[in-house]
Subunit: 430 residues, 2 copies
């Protein structure tokens, strides 16, 4: 049996032959330095050198351009390819931070590369032994919500920040009474002086308890517990002790290691927000692709993970968003049957948000072909001309149509909330 290894897949651009560029990465990220040094024996290299597994040249891309400092070679054209490099697990052990040092450390700074992007990671099962992953996932979230099927429907409290706590109470009451499944804090709303988390938790919990007592269904509220780590743990306990059923964490802002640390202490589903992801995804020739990043966030324990939504207000195309949704739905350890995983199946719920409105439901369902989605409409619910409750009704009706193959315009003729929503927000994909 061969020793366990991590295989990292990169998009590489270089004026060197791609095979040489791949060897530069493998050398820098394992046994190499810029000169030959004593004690770097053949035996040492055999055991510890990273190994180029494959190099597949790709056609040149329109959008790419040289990264600063890229070494040009007279007469050589820039080549672009998909490169797979294998690192022995023995080089770093099953540790997320130390894995990153090898697969995503200094290599972004190499002059030999005109473009470098980490696309994907294949991880050995040793990581599953250290990281239990999502504690609730899709099925656990559905159980807590008593929604065994259908799309899960949520919203973000708006305005993002500054809402007095007694107004928050009214917003939450209205949304909960309208039958929403999920409400979350904005990522900008943590535990600020003007609206301490403890006050928000107290007021929101009171309202949710009242609704639960009357309807038997308690919406999930994802309190943003993002903070310095010790404070984040205190925030978690505060939510748990008040009967809360979800915490939200901005994964990049506390770090993957911070998320994994929380997971060890966490008793609630973790709603993973992706704020700041754009800083390493948006430059086409540099960075870390969402596919690779989302695997690490799931391993670290994200039960829900933001993927962006169709027709969003941000830069990503629908195809890119669909690729992210698919990534989150894939098995984390591809060659391993879920039943042989040491703990969880690493099932994470994709969260679609940004610019979501009822008119997007048919296209979203057609292209994802699943209801295992948490669809968040912020402005699309709060901006409904008849208020947030009508916004919830319209979203629910739109998704009912989408899933049951009913024409949304026909339904809108007898559903004024839906009609108003479609008139206000339109059909981005019509």
């Amino acid at each position: 049996m061969s020793a366990p290894e991590v295989v990292a897949t990169y998009l590489v651009e270089s004026y060197l032959p791609l095979e040489d560029a791949a060897e530069v990465i493998a050398g820098e990220q394992s046994t190499g330095t810029f000169v030959a040094v004593a004690r770097e024996t053949a035996e040492l290299r055999r055991r510890f050198a990273a190994r180029v597994v494959s190099v597949d040249e790709l056609p040149p891309a329109d959008l790419t351009h040289d990264l600063p400092g890229a070494v040009r070679i007279p007469g050589a054209r820039r080549r672009r390819g998909r490169v797979r490099i294998s690192f022995g697990l023995d080089n770093f052990g099953p540790s997320l931070p130390n894995l990153l040092a090898a697969v995503a450390g200094n290599l972004f700074e190499l002059r030999q590369l005109a473009g470098i992007r980490l696309l994907d990671l294949d991880l050995p099962l040793a990581f599953a032994e250290r990281y239990p992953g999502p504690q609730y996932g899709v099925s656990g979230t559905r159980e807590l919500l008593k929604r065994p099927d259908g799309v899960l429907l949520g919203t973000i409290v708006k305005p993002s920040i500054g809402l007095p706590v007694e107004e928050l109470r009214i917003v939450v009451r209205e949304l909960a009474e309208a039958g929403i499944d999920f409400i979350k804090d904005d990522e900008l709303m943590g535990n600020p002086p003007h609206s301490p988390l403890a006050e928000r938790v107290a007021v929101v919990s009171e309202e949710l308890d009242k609704v639960a007592a009357r309807t038997g269904r308690r919406p999930m509220y994802a309190f943003n517990i993002t903070d310095d780590l010790d404070r984040m743990a205190v925030n978690h306990d505060l939510v748990r002790d008040a009967g809360g059923t979800c915490v939200m964490v901005c994964v990049n802002l506390v770090g993957l290691a911070g998320l994994a640390w929380l997971r060890q202490r966490c008793e609630l589903p973790i709603h993973g927000h992706r704020a700041m992801t754009g800083v390493f995804t948006r430059a086409p020739g540099l960075g870390i692709d969402f596919v690779a990043w989302s695997k690490l966030a799931r391993l670290a324990g994200a039960d829900h993970l933001h993927t962006n939504g169709l027709s969003n207000k941000f830069y990503e195309t629908d195809d890119e968003v669909l690729r992210s949704i698919t990534a989150v739905q894939q098995p984390l350890f591809e060659s391993v049957a879920p039943s042989s995983l040491p703990s969880s199946p690493y099932e994470t719920l994709p969260v679609l948000s940004s610019g979501q409105t009822p008119g997007l439901a048919p296209e979203t369902y057609r292209r994802t072909n699943t209801t295992d989605l948490l669809v968040l409409a912020g402005g699309g619910i709060h901006g409904h001309p008849a208020g947030p409750a009508a916004g919830v009704t319209a979203m629910r009706a739109a998704w009912h149509c989408a899933v049951n193959g009913e024409d949304i315009t026909t339904t809108a003729a007898t559903n004024s909330a839906l009609l108003q929503a479609l008139e206000t927000f339109g059909f981005p994909h019509a």
Copy 2:
């Protein structure tokens, strides 16, 4: 007295008028959403909306290009400018992760922007009350090393990974006997199965103790304790209990929040490695500049911080490196006298590394005009033809010449270690 605020400085590129692009950022990162929502009152906006402080148009840059998804406007040219935006501290409180949500969250994904980079941050003193910053800094490091003046000279254990512990012993002994100030693990060497940290700590400490007993001077060894956070704390204790005097942390791999968390428990100087910084610094039109990032790393507690060195093997130019060194040397709270800071002066030691050799000493000293530097030569010491001890001698002699205005070639005529080094590695700046 006005309420405390954070001022973030951005490089913005857009086809919108720059003032409009600045308002999009301010809106998205404080009170806005894509439609007007109930309860977003004028009073709420007055208290919580981020405010555009200044917009200074810059000439177009050669290297930049549109980020994907950037909205083009027919007839409009792309504009580029330096934009300062003020965020009330009350929006998030003095919390690093929550600060990031506002100044470095979703904004990188905005379609209205063809380029967006966080350049700098001016922080209010409230952050100093929460974050004590570096515990040792330049002066504390000098005290531990008994080197009140002169450049501090260090190296990285090479080969990067895979060295058997008994060979590590020999390397450390040789370096310590040659009078080196500082030795560090490679960032690729954490606590892997093939070379457990505990074994390395035991062997290295034994050798350093022997040298200290004989010479009265104990070199500082920065053990790489980067790991999952609870393990990182255990690693720290292991180093401390063995009499170690430094720990190394890859700041991006454990996160700024992870570093701040460690700082609260840490009794040793923290050597801050910058692996993975390139992922957010190298694309000219996207990301977070080293100037902004280094402030956060210092606040979080980095006693030493890697800045790269002149003539390095990575992509940065000498001017960029010098800008990074200067950034680390600046006061962290610019308008505040060090004596009125609640705890430390936030003094961090710049660490120059990558491709450093004796021939670079004169130019490095000429351009930095300081010896408050930790200069690390990896290959430049281990690759010396007469071995690492000669490598240390040559580096020390070269810096002596540089600081004392002596001609390095003249000195080399009577110093064979220096002569061999210059013959091997040359004068990158001659």
